[in-house]
Amino acid sequence: MNQKIRVVIAKPGLDGHDRGAKVIARALRDAGMEVIYTGLRQTPEHIVAAALQEDADVIGLSILSGAHMHICPRVMELLHQNGLDDVMVVVGGIIPDVDIPKLNVIGVRGIFLPGTPMQEIVDFITKNARSRVGSV
């Protein structure tokens, strides 16, 4: 039985600046998680389909372009429609302070701004991801 936390790292929107997404994907993998990196320009539909197919516990979205208030609500809505409410969504990137409470309200659990240590993200996911004990 594999109890590794499974994380889909995705880069939605038109932006191609993938340094952060790739660095965090490697950090999570080095911390013992199973990481699936979707690559660039994924629509919310692609991302949720990947989460479903990969049996993901966590979706990590990297967004720097300012499009987060369009992308995140759509991802949350699609997760709900697919019965994936227990998949934790975290966001990393440039998110203005005023938008943080709005993202929390729709169910985004963790928001990691520039300068966040990788270890803080690893710890957050380890502590808050759904338990895989009992799953097949």
């Binding site: 929107g13 038109l14 932006d15 191609g16 600046h17 993938d18 340094r19 790739k22 660095v23 994907a25 490697r26 950090a27 993998r29 990481v35 990196y37 979707t38 690559g39 660039l40 320009r41 629509t43 372009s65 300012g66 499009a67 987060h68 208030m69 369009h70 992308i71 440039i94 203005p96 302070d97 005023v98 701004l113 520039p114 300068g115 240590p117 990788m118 270890q119």
Partner: protein
Amino acid sequence: MKSAPSGPAIEKAFTTISGRPIERLYTPEDIAQLDYARDLADPGAFPYTRGIHPTGYHGKPWTMRQFAGFGTPEETNQRYTQLLEAGGTGLSVAFDLPTLMGRDPDDALSLGEVGKCGVSVASLADMETLFSGIDLGAITTSMTINSPASMIFAMYLVVAEKQGVSWQTLSGTLQNDILKEFIAQKEYIYPPRPSMRLITDIFAFCMEQVPKWNTISVSGYHIREAGATAAQELAFTLRDGIEYVQYGVDAGLDVDAFAPRISFFFNAHSDFFEEIAKYRAARRIWAHVMRERFKASNPRSWQLRFHTQTAGVSLTAQQPYNNVVRTALQAMAGVLGGTQSLHTNSLDEALALPTAEAATLALRTQQIIAHETGVADIVDPLGGSYFVERLTRDLEAEALAYFDTIDRMGGMVEAVERGYPQKEIAESAYRFQQAVESREQLIVGVNDFVAVGERPIVTLYIDESVGEKQVRQLVQLRATRDNARVERALNALKAGAAGVENTMPLLIEAVRAYATVGEMCNALREVWGEYEESPVI
């Protein structure tokens, strides 16, 4: 001989920010092999290590070129007017992501992105507004656009035509560097080979029609921002330059007819001396490459001209005023390295696009360096420094080793297709992040000297009305233009792209008919398809 340090033994290994080991002291031994006439020479003489102009900044100061663009063309036009009034000497256009990716504001993929990271330009109508009241004959404009470079350049040419400014006198720079998009920034549309053809079409077109235009700005900036070391930035950028020259020559162009219009764009990161050495090494390598590899005989083909931007990636969201200091020091390295033009970042750019106040302070930083510090009065003031000369030589050697590796793969296009530079950069980015985590690399305000209870600063917020406004204007444009003419122009473009005809005149005709960026890019998508990378982590 180097003497042993008399003080207490120092255990810590010192490295540059790129991880290059650094000794305590450099001495004449480090430059024993250096031959002044062969390796350095006076500024203005081959191999131009010390600079391309004999008079340095006495003859011509660097261009203070601040990259700007946000929201609608009207808003950005106001920012340009303000920058020119504040003493800016050139414009530099930042486009939004839909424009950079060749998508119209009403494309489903543009949702939430219009006007956010730059100005939205969908058609000639937007370009006319962007430069309204600005005489294109009196300024130089740099445009940061890559995959749709030909389309945006065609728009600029038609605006000039409408202002009555001759293309023969028009001057400015097109970034037009697709290889670094595949390598680092990832704003590509078409596969590498048709993308390279668009670029050689621009080379050929400008030789005849727009002779003073800098057709490409081969960019290390984004490669560095993606995590490359100084040596990787130097190596991959110059190897990209080699690829463009090779493709131009292979397209039948005379090297000395197009190479003088090739320019470069480097990062100014925080490691002061390593950056200065990087610019000096770049000039020396390029001079040799052009003279020996390509047998260019025009000295202007040998001379590497470059723009510099301070390192966006070094800016911190924490204690943002510290960024003013970082930027000033980085800008100083660019000037001591002999840059032809410079952009200084604003203090708030780790948080948002800059406010007008922050952008003005960034410009003032350059003006203080130029007019108060005296550093620009001497050409290559660090030339002859044991340390800087040694670093220059070491960086050069490291870049040449990368050239060999990439040559063995068949060239940069082939290396990109195998993900080689992408992998090298991802490795360096991860190593740097680990150094930050372990606090081997300190970042003031982030992993040391942290402040509690910081008050947030005021930042620029782009609201959603920009997208709505741009979409409304687009709907109106499509209803009022001559759509039959647009259709004809797009069909001619597709036919030309499928054959060997130069695409520039075809795009200019489409622009005159008010075809949109998305329509022109889609026409070429139909012919060439879209590129998708296999991601490497």
